[in-house]
Symmetry: D2
Subunit: 328 residues, 4 copies
């Protein structure tokens, strides 16, 4: 039985708590959140206690921590948990600065603890099937990856100001998809971006619409297009052209109803947002974490992956700001 401390009782913390509860051989022991009522409610729901960071990490019974608190706390919690020898699951991004993220990676390595970063998309059944089929050779050598990633709407501008910018906050996932699907590292990044949905985003120094091109060591090309707003909801697709064919990962829909009306034939919009779209992925991700913790499975999304995605986000941010191609 692995006792677990959960840091963060917000939206994503609740998801992880529910998935934790369904894992055989695990027990949520502590919930920690600066917002006490949230912590208490979530703790009560799963028979856990509310405590603080120090106490949670000091408890030798705690074998694993799940970090789902705000981004600015990630690195500190990773470092402290690693120092205590706890297995770590941490939401992306590791940190907003490369230096600090690399420090975490080094600490994790030195401590020899397992550390999974929450790139949940890799666990999505559709995305994982594409990856497996590429590895099985179905499309030969991957050549081109096109990623479309659009949110239904922008977060509050206050959030955006603290987010590290669209490349670190939103595209971090897409950069991870690029590295994972192409199984190759970037040699250059070129990013364009615009403010097209809300001038306040521009005033906050950020953009809401981006177009990124990544070139890899073996000359593979990846194009990513993102927007903070799609009127039709959450749009999460990618396609990989290979020497022998192409694989597309499409959106998921709530139902398989097709309606024939007087004007058109229609189907459901995509699943509304990430909590719905990646429901299965979050569950599989947490199951994988405990396979790692309890059975020594090889982590599929490491802190190094977190660092590499951040390097790309950093380069893309500079490319956009300096209006030039950045070599890595």
């Amino acid at each position: 039985m692995t006792a677990v401390a959960l840091f963060g009782a917000g939206r994503i913390g609740k998801i992880h708590a529910a998935n934790l509860a369904a894992q055989p051989g695990t027990r949520l022991k502590y919930v920690v959140d600066t917002h006490q009522p949230s912590a208490q409610q979530l703790a009560a729901q799963y028979g856990a206690s509310v405590t603080d960071i120090d106490s949670a990490l000091a408890d030798p019974e705690i074998g694993a921590v799940v970090i789902a608190s705000s981004t600015d706390t990630h690195a500190d919690l990773i470092l402290r948990a690693a120092a205590r020898g706890k297995a770590i699951f941490c939401e992306k991004p590791v940190d907003l600065t490369l230096e600090r993220a690399r420090q975490c990676a080094a600490a994790v390595k030195e401590a020899g603890v397992a550390c999974l970063i929450g790139f949940q998309r890799r666990y999505d059944p559709t995305f994982a099937a594409v990856k497996a089929r590429i590895e099985a050779g179905e499309i030969g050598q991957p050549e081109v990856l096109v990623v479309t990633s659009r949110d239904p709407g922008a977060p509050p501008v206050d959030y955006i100001k603290r987010s590290g910018g669209i490349f670190k906050d939103m595209l971090i996932h897409d950069f991870d998809i690029c590295r994972w699907i192409l199984a190759d590292e970037a040699v250059s990044v070129q990013a364009s971006a615009s403010v097209l949905t809300d001038p306040a985003i521009g005033e906050a120094g950020d953009a809401d619409t981006t177009a990124v091109t990544i070139r890899t060591r073996s000359g593979r090309l990846c194009q990513i297009n993102t927007s903070r707003r799609a009127a039709y909801g959450y749009d999460q697709r990618f396609e990989v052209l290979g020497s022998l064919g192409m694989l597309q990962a499409g959106n998921h829909r709530p139902t398989e109803v097709t309606a024939y009306g007087g004007q058109q034939v229609s189907t459901d919009l995509p699943e509304h947002f990430f909590l719905e779209r990646y429901r299965a992925a979050y569950a599989l991700e947490m199951a994988h974490f405990f396979e790692v913790v309890q059975h020594g499975a090889t982590p599929r999304t490491t802190v190094e992956d977190g660092v590499k995605a951040l390097e790309l986000a950093d380069a893309a941010t500079r490319s956009w700001q300096e209006n030039r191609l950045i070599s890595l």
Copy 2:
């Protein structure tokens, strides 16, 4: 807290046990199965005890029973549970004979207990969305219903011999869909059937492929086509033509991958069989049962629905055997 006794620890019993476990305010207290090891294993998994029918029903703490044992035990268990005042969830069919099924309906009515029949398809998100959209008037008056219902493969011939025949065993669900979707009762049934997949099915006195036409009181027409075998898996679709349009309920797929190869563009086969296809439906069905038991919700699939579907199955069987249209 509702204490529950589960009868039947087989394939479908396990599904119900898992869904029960996820219901707040319920507790699986007893598992009953003639096959002791199955009962013990399932009971252990959910902290329940193994007992026998009499003891389970005699326990005044038991508020609800879930009947997932073999078809020939359904009616007896319904009658005994109703007599004890227990809320009842029973898998379809109520019984293989109309007389006995009607006896159950009468007993349930007299006892004043809730009794849900496991027509799980009504709880499927896709099917339920079609129903809701018809009720909202999207396609005006329903006129034609076409139901396609195919299994990946036939059950063992031994099972078929005890099954009551394809109309009572397999089409019972489709007859329920017909009544539910068209919101109308049949006035005539015409059934054709063939043995096309396995001569042993014919030797057992049954058929494996059917084509049924139902006409309703208001002249609506329903066509059902079924087969015990589809090489591509489990095929569960229907479409409703109405005066203002059409709604189709399509198959669900494991992933949303589309593959472009040298010969074709391809997608996944449908979900493999009913356990996969109706996973969500089974969960929503059990949740609904406890809304009925604990909060007095109106049952959506009643024992009367079970009787009515059986009447259609009976008529279809006679239509096939006597090669003529049967009026109801």
Copy 3:
């Protein structure tokens, strides 16, 4: 160079005239229509002359006739053209009475002339591809055929009164599809029908919505559902379940645009009606007629096919009127 006489300058006559014009080695010499202005306009467009039936058939230069006039003239024109040794293309149906249709088949046989009946659907690229793939063994033995056939709207009631009824007028095509796709003959027909779209159709002694089941010699089952009205347009689909898989023939659409709006994802309605949907089929049908006439190709839709489809239509009409299964 084959000189051709065209009987009928209406909607379908114009289609055939245009397709004739595109055939190398053919010349439209005469247009005959009781409505002189239509005949003159069409003749002028293709450099043909207007004449009457007798003169057209008496001209020894005329090698082939295309009969696109009203149904009640078909049999007479076939008999007269056959007597003159002309190759014949005739729109469906051969006649509204079986006796007269069989008389035409006998006359054609005796005269030894080519006679194609305009079951244009057999020439449709999608439908023909399904047929070819079945013949290539892709789905093994065909077992079940489901045909959906819906018009965007009913013709005028005056037309319906002279049409021979929905089974001879509309389902004649679907009966031909059944025989062609299953490559088997019917042993029984059961037809249900309702008046659901317009009471005037019922007052005219006809129905507007039908559900037909056909059983073939080898036990294959075919279900046909039709309606005179689909709010979303012309719906022409069928699917064939075989021992090794299934093939579906879907609707064609004007464009391949997919629209993601705030409420739904939508695509075009199907091609509006038969002139649009079967544009390619009409062209390929006429090309085939001249392969038969000029190069001795084996006719793909014979007068015997016309007779057989009519037998089914006749049986279905009786099944509906007498409310019973009809054995053939």
Copy 4:
């Protein structure tokens, strides 16, 4: 009656000749090609004569010319035809050099003749429907355009050497789509490219796989990805995200057959290559040319469009070669 001279009797010349033949009020009078047998065969098929450039242009009866000869002849023929006051249809590109293309545009303007450039994709029913729906406001303001453009296989390396490179030869169409769909002009172009399908293409100084980002005056972003080879055929798609929704233009398929087999559900590959995919577009393009010539319609694809697309191709080529963003 407009008499027309056709320059070029190759693959695309034949398409134009056939479409010309179907235009009322036009007559193909001359066919000119350096390969006499091709010219003679095509001329014979449509009752035209073979002649040379001088004679064709000197004939005062010739009102329009169709230039479908090799790229290096385009500019010369445009200049000479303009000088003679002929209406001009010319295949893309106008020329491989911007200077010469601009010279053509100036000459056409000065001569006051109609000059259409063969960007046939603008006439494709699917693409044109997307454009019309954008103009009707369906998706609000366009923000992001993603273009996928892949050929089934590369042309011979000899052709590639004379082609002006992939950006001028292949992406010229995609650049035109960008300008047309976004209704905006580029302010910067960034192009990446790789040699992934055939080293000989790299040895010829060209690339076979590209990723281009274009930014427009109003900050709209366009991403284009192309490949000289797709194992599954000709892939021609684009999608436009706007403030109110998204429109996708998908591939066309030969048939609407869906096959359910033991391993997958599959549909046809896309139409094989441009002659099949754009069959309707070529016909509509030629019809539009004669609406311009005979009825004064406003040209939809002008020589200025040809110049602008070439400017983008030129900038993209430089961006790739110099590995930097090019401002326009």
